[in-house]
């Protein structure tokens, strides 16, 4: 990511429309979440159960993966394994080609965004149609998601009306959300009815039964996973839960944290192929793409607990100002700041662990108790290890030397009062520190001097 987060953030902050949209949206969803979370007296116990189940999954991942594979195969699904994005994309292309399919319908899936599946399909001459309302907006405009749950959060109704009028509308549109939703319904319905192949992600995979679970609101997910003859579901290897009954925890945690609903409109679970009901050919792609690298870090692996609810984005003082694009990844916000650098390597995203004030709000709302601030600090330490000695490191070392001796310290205090006006805007590489921080004025005399002259 060229220039990294600070540069991208500065660009995004200059867009007042974006900031107004974000503020409105994050305020609304925070209030909704707080209300429905407050309804459950056992919220903390559910969070602890969610955390514990995910920790258990990661620790026994090999066992659960093979169990999931065997159960899914027994139920008629074909299971594929993909080491990286390219391998996963090639598998999907191959399945489409085997059936002579040139158009696929897709439900919203961060995992497929992460591996750039649509671009890979396009290269193979296959058109992937996004059917989630927000993803459709972004696809029609060549834009990309800025929020995990509401990918087009940076677009307001007027912008969407104008876009639809230019692209899919068959009649004049107002900017009333009902009217806009109707336009998308009419446009996509034809596509669903003719679709021969669907592609989905997965919210959960059940090791015990080989079941896939998807959680959604619009029904486009049901369309994609029910009507076509062929279905491919791509899931990261961390998406498993051990047993069917474990879903009783996550189906309470996820909707309340995500959309602020007691339950989302549609949750679908299916296991392999059911004769006479839904796709008669079912493929599952188990994706690594950096996840085992995250797993190898004892501190950082908790990032794999994430159930993609986006509660941490909505409470983050940094995200709610910069928006998602500044993070330069399909995983924005606090979770993205710890997940992206680990998935692709800290050296490729060294500014992301700093895209936080470490206020801890993300940890408090996380439904599976991911201690994001601790992982941020851990990753910052890794960044520093790779970039020593930095200007900051040298300055801190010098400061350590001054603070160790009383005389040196008193001398520095005198010098500081004298040199203070200069220090407010340091030159050269030190400017990056002073540019973004206000320096408090120094008192006229130090405490020691005041004490001595009392």
């Amino acid at each position: 990511m060229k220039g990294g987060f600070p540069e991208a953030a500065r660009r995004e902050l200059a867009n007042p429309q974006l900031r107004a949209n974000l503020r409105n949206a994050t305020d609304t969803i925070r209030a909704k979440r707080a209300r429905v979370v407050g309804e459950l007296p056992d919220w903390e116990e559910l969070r602890e159960a969610g955390r514990g189940i995910k920790a258990d999954v990661l620790h026994h991942l090999e066992e659960y993966l093979t169990q999931f594979e065997a159960a899914a195969q027994a139920a008629g699904a074909q299971v594929h394994w993909a080491r990286d994005a390219a391998e996963a994309n090639a598998i999907v292309v191959e399945i489409a080609r085997a059936h002579g399919i040139t158009d696929v319908v897709k439900m919203k899936s961060l995992t497929t965004d992460e591996i750039h599946l649509n671009a890979a399909l396009a290269q193979a001459g296959i058109t992937a149609l996004e059917t989630d309302f927000a993803e459709l907006i972004l696809q029609l405009d060549g834009d990309w998601p800025s929020h995990i749950l509401v990918p087009a959060i940076h677009r307001n109704r007027t912008e969407i009306r104008d876009l639809f009028a230019r692209t899919i509308a068959t009649r004049p549109l107002t900017d009333d959300p009902h009217d806009l939703a109707e336009a998308a319904r009419v446009y996509l319905r034809e596509k669903f009815l003719d679709a021969r192949m669907g592609v989905s992600g997965a919210n959960f995979g059940v090791a015990e039964t080989g079941t896939i679970c998807i959680v959604e609101s619009e029904g486009n997910g049901r369309m994609c996973t029910t009507l076509p003859e062929v279905l491919v579901s791509i899931l990261g290897i961390e998406k498993l839960v051990p047993t069917f009954a474990d879903l009783e925890v996550f189906l309470q945690l996820l909707p309340r944290s995500s959309t602020g609903e007691r339950m989302n409109p549609y949750t679908s679970l299916w296991t392999g192929v059911t004769p006479g009901d839904g796709p008669q050919e079912m493929h599952i792609v188990l994706l690594d793409a950096g996840r085992t690298r995250v797993l190898a870090d004892e501190v950082g692996r908790v990032a794999l607990h994430c159930i993609r609810c986006s509660a941490c984005l909505n409470v983050c003082p940094v995200y709610s100002r910069t928006g998602g694009h500044a993070y330069g990844s399909v995983y924005p916000g606090p979770i993205g700041a710890i997940l992206t650098p680990q998935l692709i390597g800290v050296e490729k995203a060294p500014t992301l662990p700093y895209a936080s004030s470490l206020c801890g709000a993300c940890y408090e709302v996380c439904p599976v108790k991911i201690d994001i601030p601790t992982v941020l600090l851990h990753l910052r330490a890794k960044v520093v290890e790779q970039h020593s000695p930095s200007a900051e490191g040298l300055t801190m070392r010098a400061a350590g030397w001054v603070f160790r001796g009383r005389r040196r310290f008193e001398g520095a205090q005198r010098l500081a009062r004298f040199a203070f006006p200069l220090a407010r805007l340091l030159p050269g590489p030190l400017a990056s520190w002073t540019k973004t921080r206000d320096l408090k004025p120094l008192p006229k005399q130090s405490f020691r001097r005041w004490w001595a002259g009392r």
Binding site: V150, S217, E218, S268
Partner: protein, 204 residues
């Protein structure tokens, strides 16, 4: 080496020497303190914009006819094994023996039962049983009329999973209100791709 072997190998070496976190603690509620589940289910369904009717079982057939009339239903899809006495005489009842997506799209509505309902979350669970039919049937038509018997209502999500255990590998759909999107400025709009109208009859 196959991708499978390589990934499993990476998992193994990533975890080498890590301490076992032990089983998860499960201190959450298994039984909710809900005295009467039926009124709670009705309230929660209505909160998410479902149309809810609560009535004695004997009145169900007449109520279904009235609902069909109110929603201008001419062609009503049903699972082939749906009980006869629920089927309204006033409309064209079409049994789903593998209707194509376009044929399903030509229906004005669909009438089904359910496997269970969850009061606390206002959720109906369909498990592809004889009264419920296959998934596409309750997805493509624009109106879904669903009959819930009071004896099918459980208090919360854990009770639902306990009851669903033996049906785990059937296609399951949890429906909580009509389809919706909040993608435009987080303004909730009911009715996108799934049925835009959900009518629930809670019968005793």
């Amino acid at each position: 080496m196959s991708a499978r072997e390589e990934i499993l190998g990476r998992v193994r070496s990533a975890l080498a020497g890590s301490p076992d976190p032990g089983p998860a603690s499960r201190g959450y509620r298994r039984i909710m303190e809900t005295a009467d589940v039926a009124p709670l289910l009705c309230e929660r369904l209505a909160d998410y914009k479902a149309e809810v009717h609560r009535l004695p079982a004997l009145e169900a057939p007449r109520a279904i006819s009235e609902i069909c009339a109110a929603h201008h239903v001419g062609r009503l899809g049903v699972p082939p094994e749906l009980r006869i006495d629920w089927r309204p005489g006033s409309v064209d009842v079409i049994e789903d023996h593998g209707l194509s997506p376009r044929e399903l799209d030509g229906l004005d509505g669909v009438l089904t039962g359910c496997t269970l309902a969850i009061a606390e979350t206002g959720t109906i669970v369909l498990a592809a049983g004889p009264d419920e039919g296959r998934r596409a049937l309750t997805l493509v038509p624009d109106l879904h009329v669903c009959v819930v018997r009071e004896s099918q209502i459980v208090d919360g999500v854990p009770a639902a999973f306990a009851a669903l255990g033996r049906l785990a590998t059937r296609p399951l759909t949890f429906v909580s209100g009509p389809s919706a999107t909040s993608d435009i400025e987080l303004d909730r709009v009911e009715g996108v791709h799934g049925p835009r109208t959900l009518v629930v009859l809670v019968i005793r």
